[in-house]
Every structure is written in structure tokens, then in C-alpha cells.
């Protein structure tokens, strides 16, 4: 192992890579250079081609043109396995490891410690525990990965890639589902790896993180290379302009002045609502035109609250009311019938129907609400799809594309469109901005505000406290699957939220923040 980075030698060199999917030209003659020991951010809007570039480099997609060199030597991996052999370890955007295997098996799949042709289970678990300990995780590694939250699954995927101790580590949106604390741990590890002259490619839509960790930045737009800069010498606004190809007033992180509410009408209220072993009974009032944020650490029960409110999970006690009238929320159908909508955080397994087109995905909830006998005509579907593709700037703007072929962020927008199309009275959004680019991020926050002004009631979960503070009128803080505090008006700020989260326990997160 050499000492210190050798900036003269490009570790990973990508020249003139092109890739088309049928008529869509996802990459056009893209160049990319990664030096040993640097952390290199790969940025661009949703659908710019970041993930595609990564998959082409690692041989998941065959490429149409171009060459890839590693350490000066040309490589042409034909599978992820071959890429690993060539020294590239990758955490793909749709990480999803294998939920049916144990955590340990996931970490060591295809490279388990062996003796006499037999996997050394004990040794493997031991190593798995040690490896995860580096990431601050202490979990039962023999349990199936699917038992754990998305965040833990994500950390596991990263740990696996890191442990491959390759020369190049590629992380495609690794931080999307992590909280601050975990991001800190990840960054610490990335810095260490970079010191060992490993080159790291980092994809993220969190510009703060990009500025915090990266040495250089490469920006893609519409499948083309826009430019490569030193992070230190690239102003934020300039970066955003490179990404979007236009200016964007960076106002998103400012808390809107407390809005005057014309009405104080209650849209939905929950009283002593809860489910044993899931979320402790809580009281929650959602008013028309109001955004309520849910904040808390991973596993604090935010998703659970959202599912109960929507009806995806049955409560075992308490009352739910919609506009004052008692209702029973037994299934998502009930929720939909009462005018609720829910964008789940696990977009791929619980959100999109990959095979169906953008149009059909958008029309789905509205159709379900209208019932079988009142089918949306093709013309109505086209009309709805066209409206939302334009409104949310879904790219490519082709409503007849199977949603599975869209980039991650655009899939998220399609889900949002699905619920907006039902003109709901209450929308529950679980991590709506996850994986969404700066432009769209601002767009979605603007949209959230607009929707409120139209009288919609919103319940939003986000791990981005800044973001929550930006749009929430009230914030409910959760801890250990119970609602512990409700902040309103002037009291809504990051400090207060952190204080409530940390309350009596050791304020790990607080330290991380300050």
C-alpha cells in the first residue's frame, strides 16, 4: 500500500462514455477522472445520468462507446463481480441488499470466510459485528436484514463496499436515508479511506454534505459533462447553475414567516390513537392548510405514525375523526376514501409499479378512489399525466415510459403526482425529498407551501431538520415510538427539535450537530 495520494496519477479514468436506452441518450461522451486519495462528488439533477455512469463503469450496463482505465490499465468489466475484481466497490442507488439473508451473509456474500469448503459461520458473524461496530451499529447480525430499517440496511451496504477494500469506492446517494449522526460516522470512515489513497466517488443531492466532504466535483446535465471543479473554489450558486443550467434563488432553507391561517378548521384528528408494540397512543390534530412535521431519530416511530394515520396499519385503540365525524381507518382503501394520501418512504417496494407507465402510475390512486365502474378514459389519464409531468417537471417528459426506467428522483415525483391527482384533503409524505435534486427539492418545498395555501393538510416526515423547520407550522417530535413533544409557531427551530429528541438521553445527535 502506497503512502499518501499521488495526484499525478489518475486512479480511475473514464473517457468518452456513451450510453443509450432505446431513444433515450442517458450519457453522451462523458469523461470523468478520479484521483487516488480524493473524494469526488458526482452531481447533477435527477435523471442527469449519474447512476447510469456508475453502472456503465462497473459493467452492470454494457456501454455503447468509450473506455475505462484503472491505474492506467484499461478494463471492461462485464458484471459487478468483475468490477470488484478490477478493484471497484460500489453501493448502488437502489441498494437493497437481500432482505431474506442475514446481515452477516449480506456483508460477506460471495466472500465468506471458509474452511474445508464450509462457511465459518461463527467467524463470519464475529467479523460482521466488528465491521458494523465501526459504523456505530450494534445489532444481531444473524437476523435477516429485512428485519431492520432502511437506514440500517443502507449502512450495511456501505460497510460491505468499504470492507471490499478496493482501490475505488463508489457511493451512489449513500446518505439519502441516514440521519446526521450516521452521516458523520460515514464521513469519518470516508476520510480515513481517502487517507489510505483510496479514491471515492460520492453522489448526493445534499449540497451541504458535498461541500463538507468532497475535494472535487464533477457535474452532469442531461447526460453530458458540464464540468469538473475543485470544491473549494466553486461557489454554491455557481454549482447550482452548473447543475440546473439556470439560476435558482437559494431561499429554500429559510423558515417562512408564520403564515396567517384563514381558517382553523380541523381536517383530521386522532385521539389516543395507537397500536401496541408499534406506536404508543398519541393525540394529533391536523388543520386545514397546515403542515405538521414529524421529527425523530431513526426507528423513533415516524413511519409507524404515518401508516397509522393513513390507515395502512390498523390502530388497536383510540378514535379517528375526519372533519369532526368519527371514522374507521382499517385499510389504505379507507384512507383513500376519506381523502387521505400517503407517499411511503420505500419507493420501490411500496410505491411504484415499475412495469406500468408513468401515466398509469399517476392515475392509479385516483382510479382506485373512483372505483371500477367509473374508469378514467384514456383521454382523462393522458390529461392528468400531462399536467403533473409538467407541474413536477418529470423527466423525461414521456408519460408512456415504464416508471421503473425513470431515475430515482423522478420516480419520487411520480408518486407525489399520484396523490396530488386525487385532490386529497390530507397528504402524508414520508421522506418526500429523499433522492431529489436541488432544483426539484426547492420545487417540492414550494409545492408543499402552495398545497397548504389551497387548504390541503400535510403530515411530513423528513430526516432533514432544516427542511422540516422550513415548511412546518408545527413539529411533533418522536422518541422510542412515542410522541414526546409538540412544537408550534416560534418554537419550531432545529435547536428545540434536537433538544426534544435528545431530552434525557445522552445528546449524541446534538453533539453531532454542534
Amino acid at each position: 500500500m502506497q503512502n499518501g495520494p499521488d495526484p499525478a496519477l489518475p486512479l480511475l479514468e473514464v473517457r468518452g462514455i456513451s450510453k443509450s436506452f432505446g431513444a433515450v441518450r442517458a450519457l453522451r461522451e462523458v469523461d470523468f477522472t478520479l484521483r487516488a486519495g480524493e473524494i469526488h462528488a458526482l452531481l447533477g439533477e435527477n435523471g442527469a445520468g449519474k447512476s447510469t455512469l456508475i453502472k456503465v463503469v462497473t459493467g452492470v450496463f454494457p456501454r455503447d462507446a468509450g473506455i475505462v482505465r484503472i491505474g492506467g490499465e484499461e478494463i471492461a468489466p462485464r458484471s459487478a463481480k468483475a468490477a470488484v475484481a478490477a478493484g471497484i466497490a460500489t453501493v448502488y442507488q437502489e441498494v437493497n441488499l437481500l432482505p431474506n439473508l442475514s446481515v452477516a451473509q449480506n456483508l460477506f456474500l460471495d466472500r465468506q470466510p471458509m474452511r474445508f469448503g464450509v462457511v465459518r459461520e461463527g467467524e463470519m458473524r464475529h467479523r460482521a459485528k466488528a465491521l458494523l461496530a465501526d459504523f456505530g451499529l450494534d445489532i444481531d447480525v444473524a437476523a435477516p436484514l429485512g428485519n431492520y430499517s432502511v437506514a440500517i440496511q443502507h449502512v450495511t451496504a456501505i460497510a460491505r463496499a468499504v470492507d471490499l477494500s478496493a482501490r475505488v469506492l463508489i457511493l451512489d446517494e449513500p446518505t439519502a436515508s441516514l440521519d446526521r449522526h450516521e452521516v458523520e460516522i460515514l464521513f469519518g470512515i470516508m476520510r480515513q479511506l481517502a487517507k489510505r489513497s483510496i479514491g471515492i466517488v460520492f453522489v448526493s443531492h445534499f449540497l451541504d454534505q458535498v461541500y463538507e466532504i468532497s475535494d472535487r466535483i464533477t457535474v452532469l446535465r442531461n447526460g453530458r459533462l458540464v464540468g469538473e471543479r475543485e470544491t473549494a473554489s466553486l461557489p454554491r450558486l455557481e454549482l447550482i447553475r452548473m447543475m440546473l443550467g439556470r439560476e435558482l434563488a437559494e431561499t429554500t432553507n429559510e423558515r417562512a414567516a408564520a403564515r396567517e391561517h384563514k381558517t382553523r378548521e380541523i381536517c383530521a384528528s386522532f385521539e389516543n390513537y395507537g397500536k401496541a408494540g408499534y406506536v404508543a397512543p398519541f393525540n394529533l390534530e391536523l388543520r386545514r392548510g397546515e403542515v405538521v412535521g414529524l421529527a425523530g431519530l431513526l426507528g423513533s416511530g415516524r413511519t409507524e405514525t404515518a401508516r397509522l394515520v393513513f390507515g395502512a396499519e390498523r390502530a388497536d385503540g383510540g378514535k379517528a375523526r375526519v372533519e369532526g365525524a368519527p371514522v374507521r381507518l382499517q385499510s389504505p382503501r379507507d384512507g383513500v376514501r376519506h381523502g387521505f394520501g400517503y407517499c411511503p418512504e420505500e419507493r420501490k417496494t411500496e410505491g411504484i409499479v415499475a412495469e406500468l407507465t408513468v401515466r398509469e402510475n399517476i392515475a392509479l390512486a385516483l382510479q382506485a378512489k373512483r372505483g371500477l365502474h367509473r374508469p378514467l378514459s384514456r383521454r382523462e389519464q393522458d390529461e392528468i399525466a400531462r399536467r403533473y409531468v409538467k407541474m413536477l417537471d418529470i423527466r423525461p417528459p414521456d408519460a408512456e415510459r415504464p416508471v421503473g426506467l425513470l431515475s430515482g428522483g423522478n420516480q419520487q415525483k411520480v408518486l407525489l403526482a399520484r396523490w396530488l391527482a386525487t385532490s386529497p384533503r390530507l397528504l402524508v409524505l414520508d421522506e418526500p425529498t429523499r433522492g431529489i435534486d436541488v432544483g426539484a427539492h426547492a420545487e417540492i418545498i414550494r409545492l408543499i407551501r402552495e398545497l397548504c395555501d389551497d387548504g390541503l393538510s400535510l403530515l411530513v416526515i423528513s430526516s432533514e431538520l432544516d427542511e422540516i423547520v422550513t415548511y412546518s407550522d408545527r413539529v411533533v417530535v418522536l422518541r422510542d415510538r412515542a410522541h414526546v413533544e409538540e412544537l408550534a409557531g416560534e418554537a419550531v427551530d432545529v435547536g428545540n427539535i434536537l433538544a426534544a429528541i435528545a431530552a434525557d438521553s445522552v445528546a449524541v445527535a446534538l453533539e453531532a450537530h454542534t
Binding site: P62, S331, P332, R333, V353, L356, E360, A368, K369, L372
Partner: protein, 330 residues
């Protein structure tokens, strides 16, 4: 009805044409048609007529498969419906006979749907139960005999003709149009495809996935019952031991040849029926060819594989490998 037109049926149509051409080679009179007792007569008509039961089965099966299910019991349901129809034929009116037989199919479908949608059993074993027990029920009705009948109404269903077209063929066509109208005319088609594509996501979007699953099994049962009645009417008797035996495999094959994935999602009714015709064109060709029967299965295997490879998502498979090899060498 543009909604009924195949979205992507080129491979299937091509396969059908090729097999028809081969049939013409093994049997020069293959395309001959004449009118015989007010009924069209010729090998082509045989293909349509004999293909009817599988075509009907595939109409139900394609919907079940679209929801990511499978129904192994259709052959047994055919036997049950045939047995009921035959036992009632000579003593009851045609309407009663049909109602009883189709009603039995509906109940069978409900049972399967209940096991899959409500009890959450895996479709293949859930329907295996009725596949085994159903034939027993059919035999119980006939006591293992071939129950014959002579009710002209029912016989007409199997052997009559409307404007020269055999009644079974007309019925199959009618069912195709009816199913198409119901499925594509309402939102059912979209909701079924959504359920099959991602049941959890659909459920969360407010789709009543259980109701979808239940209804497709019911429809599959009804289609199978109709196929059973026609099969019985055809031979003027109910042969509970053999009616529909192994036809579930042909129906599944037809659906897959019709381009519907066994993993659910997108489906095409027309192409499933086309798949049934492809299978029957091949079968009739085998019968006409005069080869000894020991070859039947081999020919079938080869044809099936060829048809599938033709429409393989990766016919580029070989081409792709060749291209990669070239690239790595270069």
C-alpha cells in the same frame, strides 16, 4: 376496439404464420375449406374448434397470471362442469344446465380465490388442492363412468354452427370480446396489472387487491367451466376421468406464449388466445403429419422452445454475447 388489439404481438403472429406454413407442407390440403351440412369443414376449422377449450382456459388464466398467480385446477374444474352438465342435460332445460355448470365453476373459483386472497396461500399449492380433489369430485358425480346425453341444446353447443362457424368457436370469440370489454372497458385491467406488478404498492394506493385476486380466480373458474361444458358437449358425454387432463399446462403455456409474464403485470387477452391457437396449430399439424406418436412430445418441445426464443426479451442474448466478446478482444 383498439383496447383489444395486441400491443406487441408481432412475434406471436410470426410464429403462427410459420407453423401454419409448416402445416401446409406436411399436409397439402391444410387450407382447404368447404361447407358440410351447413358447417365449415377443414383443418383450419379443426384448429379453431379444438383450440377452443384451451383458448377459453387461457382467457381466465391470463388474468390470474397477471395478478402473479397461477391456476392449476382449471382441468379439474372442466371435468366438474362437464360432469354436472351431462348429468342434468337430459332432465333439465339448457338454461338450468348452463347455470349449474357455470355456477360450479364460479364456486370453484371462489374457493381458489379465498385460499389465495384471504388465507394467503401460495397460488400454485392452493390450486393444486382443487386440481387433485376437483377431479375426484367430478368422478364422484359420474361415478367414474362416461355419462352420455342427447339433449339437442347441449349437443348444439358442441357441434352446432352459426353461419357456418362452429358454435364453440363463436362462444370463444364471444367470451374474448366479453372479457375484453369488461376488463378494458372498466378499470379492472389497470387495477389487475397494478396488483400483479406490485401488490403492496397497489394496496397502499387504495386498490382492493384482495377483491382483484378473488375476482380473477372466479372468472378463471367460470371460463374453465364453460370450456368443460363445451368439451362435454363435443363428445356428447362427460368423461370425468380425462376431461381437461393436463390442459392447465397448455393454458399456462398459451398465456406465456402470449407474452404475459409469469411474474404478473402486463397482460394481453388477444395474445393469450393467439397462444392457444399456436399450440393447437402445432398439435393439429402433428396429427396430420403422420409421424408415429412417439415423436409428438419431442416435436412439441422443439416448437415451444423455438417460439419462446423467437420472442425472448434477449434474442439479443447471443448477439449481445458475441458483441461483448468482440469488444473484449479488441
Amino acid at each position: 376496439m383498439t383496447a383489444l388489439l395486441p400491443r406487441r404481438g408481432l412475434a406471436q403472429i410470426l410464429a403462427l404464420i410459420v407453423i401454419l406454413a409448416v402445416d401446409r407442407v406436411v399436409s397439402p390440403q391444410f387450407f382447404d375449406l368447404r361447407l358440410q351440412d351447413g358447417r365449415l369443414f377443414g383443418s383450419l376449422i379443426d384448429v379453431l374448434n379444438r383450440g377452443t377449450p384451451v383458448a377459453l382456459l387461457s382467457l381466465g388464466m391470463v388474468l390470474v397470471i397477471a395478478t402473479r398467480g397461477i391456476d392449476l385446477s382449471v382441468g379439474a374444474v372442466m371435468a366438474i362442469a362437464g360432469a354436472i352438465a351431462a348429468s342434468l342435460a337430459d332432465t333439465h332445460s339448457l338454461a338450468v344446465v348452463l347455470a349449474a355448470a357455470l355456477g360450479a365453476g364460479l364456486i370453484c373459483g371462489l374457493w381458489n380465490g379465498f385460499l389465495v386472497a384471504v388465507l394467503g396461500m401460495q397460488p400454485i399449492v392452493a390450486t393444486l388442492i382443487l386440481m387433485v380433489a376437483g377431479r375426484g369430485i367430478a368422478q364422484l358425480i359420474t361415478e367414474g363412468r362416461i355419462v352420455t346425453f342427447s339433449s339437442p341444446g347441449l349437443v348444439w353447443l358442441g357441434n352446432g354452427a352459426i353461419l357456418g362457424v362452429p358454435v364453440p368457436v363463436a362462444i370463444a370469440l364471444g367470451m374474448l370480446i366479453l372479457t375484453g370489454a369488461v376488463v378494458r372497458g372498466s378499470a379492472l385491467g389497470l387495477l389487475i396489472e397494478a396488483t400483479g406488478g406490485n401488490a403492496r404498492a397497489s394496496e397502499l394506493a387504495g386498490v382492493g387487491t384482495r377483491a382483484m385476486i378473488l375476482s380473477v380466480y372466479v372468472w378463471c373458474g367460470v371460463c374453465a367451466a364453460l370450456a368443460g361444458v363445451i368439451a362435454a358437449a363435443d363428445i356428447m358425454g362427460a368423461d370425468a376421468n380425462n376431461a381437461g387432463l393436463w390442459l392447465e399446462l397448455d393454458a399456462i403455456l398459451a398465456v406465456v406464449i402470449g407474452g404475459t409474464s409469469l411474474f404478473g403485470g402486463r397482460f394481453s387477452l388477444v395474445l393469450a388466445v393467439l397462444g392457444a391457437l399456436i399450440i393447437q396449430t402445432m398439435n393439429t399439424g402433428i396429427l396430420l403429419s403422420g409421424y408415429p406418436p412417439e415423436f409428438n412430445l419431442l416435436v412439441k418441445a422443439v416448437v415451444v422452445l423455438t417460439v419462446l426464443l423467437l420472442q425472448s426479451p434477449k434474442l439479443t442474448g447471443f448477439a449481445g454475447i458475441a458483441a461483448r466478446l468482440r469488444r473484449t478482444k479488441a
